[in-house]
Symmetry: D2
Subunit: 406 residues, 4 copies
């Protein structure tokens, strides 16, 4: 457990290694947080749930931490205003790194001293690791957004590597009763529990995500100008935000380019389209004569797939290496399922009840992980969720159909 | 059919009978429409879908009607800005009533001339009737909102009548496979179709809606000040809107009152709480140690109930007459189900594809009809839907539980 | 005095004579008020300042009047929210007309009963008449705005008549000490008082306002796209509001038209440009190599001109009849003077202190009256004032220069 | 000239010396700019107006500089969005310091090489120095605002020193013709020119600014809750912004404190009140039975005063050392004069025409300099200007009266 803890904590540091101090404070829109805040908040999580609960003599490293680095746990304290996270120059980056180190030492001592460690501590450490993994993904996506609005178009890291998506095929499923969710001993979030039964009608699902080339056809067919392809709230968003392409795309000198963590690049037609909102995914599917899968259809379809693909550790944020069978990684896949409670599920007590369940309105489920997800963070039953207009995650489209395409 | 048509058209006129001309133009918030607009829009629906499609010689009564009184059918024309419906003094009320009469005459002629009427015309008349019934309900709820912001607190109609809700009990259901939705020959909306199978876990559901008295306990227990009771988006709404009670409630001289269509009245503790958002319904249920039912649980529970209760025709908007078995009417009941597509359902072609399906995001399903719903508009399978923060409908709460309360 | 009172009260009624009841309630933007509100507010003014102060037995006609029809006199009561004046359907138009009549009868009785009338009452009646004249102008300009947003483009009144503006000439003035403002026995507002000395440098002023034709040259020379012509706040307004022509102008089928109280009309090149903001007037003057006059320069230049021209009573809102010497009427003329206090001026006590002086920030002075000003309301020393971005008044441009154009 | 240039450039660096790198990027509201931006923008000014115009071989140090560090000169390029200055992490602080040094070397070479330097170059260097001095003041005030929103309340520098304001007295002036503005050979901005004649009525002016103690009486007398004391736009601001004290004041444990560049401090009653908007200054003056002076009255009153007092170089941002005669420094003094053009003044050509004159609407003149103004930047005729709701400058109140208080 200690090894896993330290591995995760160090992976976070390696993510921010290419940054300048100035990069740590930026919050370019309210949805993202500054890198420094991510570093501090993930540390606060261990301090709050492990150290303060288990070390009677421990007092917070920074006196103001409990407000400043609390994200949204109203049970614990009044969180500092989310929209102002980018305005807080102190504590400095160096002070936050010291904070990380001090908490790491305390946690290490705790874990090395077996007397103090009970099952509950282990389970919170486990949760804290999973929590930090989620923030590793957000660090990457937030950083990308922050860099994108700078006219210098800073480069996080030069990356190379390339492989093409296979030809589109459809996998058919008969439906009937199936098992969704998990009761396994291995870690899972409360929103994936419990394992439960669900009835499905026959359906087909695509063997791979939609490509940039396919999405370009939608754009060129005036997809963004055709209101009948869109959900009503989606069309309002398209109109207000003046969307005409995925986030980060720019039409320059007669060609589509997009901002990547390696700078501005040409669009590669055989790679998966990403930085797509649910509204765009839904409109594209309608245009393509298909639909998005429900999360149950998705989970049922890929029950036996290995968790293989392009993940955070590959540091390939714009490319991919995927055989036909790689259904995990590269891009999150929007489902048609609103994020709601599973039948029979229980709500954890205290602050942890706020972790997942209070977001169960107005958000849509995404499945499968992305190129920014840590590899061992992703599971078949993992449910990611975002509001339907959000585009700054590595989010893409997998098509489904009611009946076999054959 | 003609009889039903004329009955519906006249019922609409009887609703606006107590109004002054000045009342017809008001739009007190963007969600509501002025009564005059409702009168014109429901007429436009028949003109657009029946007369223009079936009478080659027919030209629109007002040349500008197709934009001005189109609500949201982008397929047909560019609808006039929704937020400005209250700023349009011309055509006058009297001109709009003439418009109604002219269209009614044309439709009557059409229906009396059997040669011209095929099945498709009948189905559009049917749809137009259902559509007008929906606007009858909106006329009542919009009117109530418009009046409520006037410091004179105008009275629509004096009403009386009173009866108490029964004691709270729980009905238990075993779950298993059940049939949801409808394929019946009788009219239903596309969003209720098709009949399909669904698997339910055991659950219990309350015999009646939550009362004002019960909801007051939630208020007095600081329900509106306790963030952990709320969904995250709901808590943000409570904070921004400074909600501390249902819409229309005012605390005056030490007692709660509410604005009704009969003016300001004291809160009656044994009547159902209404003008509640989904967020409030969800928070109340959590506080009460229960939850909201899914729409499938609701439909399964009340399969055999008669469609009896207090409806529009009763003109009792603040009271009710309900035996323990009256599950329909009085207040719509929020379910925990986001409004989504039923499996295997098809999307109607053309403008009708916009009628229901483009709203399938960010909205929640309500069931059972209200005191403002026309009686023969309501069905077991009927799905109403609103965004989770909306409160100006007659919307209330029915509780459910995972397991038997016994 | 009674005769003047009744004349003014009746003139107001004659203005609204062409309206439908539906027109009386509309407030198409926050700056305008519904006609019904103007009718009630001007009546409230007499009730509040004359009847309630001088008739001990008098109680308000409507109990809620003091809030609902108070505009901005915080000294008296909490005014009803300005932005919601268009949402108040009750009292009805007919009830407001009854209110007018009842107050008129009371005032008539008062004035006929000499015992009750002292100097102070006369001075308030005088003020109330001037106040109602101001609202007569607003009635016209607000009505025009309300009609303009209706796609039916309603016609208030067909008008005809036409005459051209003379050729541009410059009048030169030597400057030196001059007398500004007034101490005269005849009525004037506190903001025109007292008569005081002021030192002017030599200047020239145009013999007539800028024409539509001249303004078109500014548009065609990309005046609206050239930031260096504009004040900084003005350029921000142009950009945000997407201004590219005066208010009410529309480019249709290759020609500029504008909405008038007689409907949509072609632009007449030899008539004065109007519905211009201060920002546009200032930018036009800079483009033309001139500047706007100060209010002192304006007043000094036209000291000996007769108060002749096109006024409200002419009912010619789009045309004019002006010889070279008509400097009054037709369009208000923006000056370069911010609206501030005259030296040595006193602030009236009580609510009247709020009448003019609390608006002395962020507004610019206009001079000369317009086609919507009652003829005997306008004086040489009259100071009108609006925020620099406002365009719904009949406001135009008169140029000035530092030195003689000769 | 070179000496003065280098002195000014170094003074800027000494201001930011106590900062951490993280502090350089913060923009806590749209009115302020990040310290890094000030460092770069002042350098860009010399690069743009001196180097690019006079060194044919010179190309910009950063290719993107002309947009990124242009403030508002539309003549030159499209300035980068003002509200996003705090989101630009690159170039880094160190790169910006290198940029400063490179430009300083080029300017030094230019000035040392007499052949290249004509009168115009000297005048632009002179202007660039004055420009940088203005940004030195903004650096201090922006920094203070940035720190103030951080719950850690960072300390810029510990400061001490204290002295009391003298007893309030009135200086009387007879008025008559006076000379305002300047034609002097020494540097002045175009908005101070030309020297011109002006007629004044008799007035009195206070010997010192209003103190915290006096302002507290206004607060305690419900000044912030009394609408009749306020200008209309001011009252709207008070209501919307929920103002109840000057900016930075907090009521803690029964006493008023304020945030200073030395952290949170108790209010000292005998020091001048500061961080006051024009609206507050105007309301206070009305409450005190006085008024604000016009800028002409102010300038006429202090024609013979030495430019002595507390300035930037004193590094005493919360205290002061002022004899009765010190009218300059410590706090800017709001006048009742809107910022407008002086008679006979000319507009500089090209980009410099944008320097001052495009701000001549909606702003009020302040006089006298503050504790954050460089000492040799301030003149008798110096006109500072801000919108009337701005409070983050060191702005205070000096009272005037129409007539002698004797």
């Amino acid at each position: 457990m200690l090894e896993k803890y330290l591995y995760t904590r160090n992976l976070t540091l390696s993510i921010v290694e290419p940054l300048q101090i100035e990069d740590f404070g930026v919050q370019a829109m309210v949805d993202v947080s500054p890198p420094k805040w991510h570093l501090a908040h993930t540390t606060w999580f261990f301090e709050e749930f492990i150290l303060l609960n288990n070390k009677p003599e421990y007092s917070p490293y920074f006196p103001y931490t409990r407000e400043l680095f609390n994200s949204y746990y109203e049970t614990l304290s009044k969180p500092f205003s989310r929209s102002k996270r980018g305005l807080i120059s102190r504590p400095t980056v160096s002070e936050v790194l010291d904070y990380r180190q001090a908490v790491d030492e305390e946690v290490t001592n705790l874990l090395n001293n077996n007397d103090e460690v009970d099952e509950k501590v282990y389970s919170f450490i486990q949760l804290g690791i999973q929590h930090e993994q989620q923030h590793q993904e957000l660090l990457m996506t937030d950083l990308k957004y922050n860099f994108s609005i700078n006219p210098l178009k800073p480069i996080y890291k030069e990356m190379s590597g390339h492989s093409s998506l296979p030809r589109l095929k459809w996998y058919d499923f008969e439906g009937g009763m199936t098992t969704i969710g998990t009761n396994k001993k291995e870690f899972s979030f409360d929103n994936e529990q419990p394992e439960h039964q669900c009835f499905l009608y026959p359906y087909s699902i695509a063997n791979r995500p939609v490509t940039n080339g396919e999405y370009l056809e939608f754009i060129e067919d005036k997809g963004y100008e055709t209101p009948t392809l869109w959900l009503s709230d989606g069309w309002q968003t398209v109109t207000e935000q003046k969307w005409n392409a995925p986030l980060y795309w720019e039409y320059v000198d007669g060609n589509w380019h997009h901002f990547t963590l390696s700078g501005m690049k040409s669009i590669e037609k055989d790679q998966p389209v990403t930085h797509i909102s649910f509204y765009e995914a839904d409109a594209y599917a309608r245009w393509a004569g298909a639909r998005l899968p429900t999360e149950q259809e998705w989970e049922n379809a890929f029950k036996n797939e290995a968790i293989e693909g392009t993940f955070l550790e590959n540091m390939l944020f714009n490319e991919e290496d995927r055989s036909e069978k790689n259904v995990f990684g590269t891009v999150w896949e929007w489902t048609s399922s609103p994020y709601t409670r599973y039948p029979q599920s229980a709500r954890p007590e205290g602050a942890l009840g706020e972790y997942n369940q209070k977001f169960m309105s107005n958000q849509m489920v995404l499945r499968g992980g992305s190129c920014a997800s840590p590899r061992n963070h992703i599971r078949l039953t993992y449910r990611n969720f975002f509001h339907p207009d959000k585009r700054w995650q590595f989010s893409g489209i997998r098509l489904a159909k009611e009946e076999s395409a054959l």
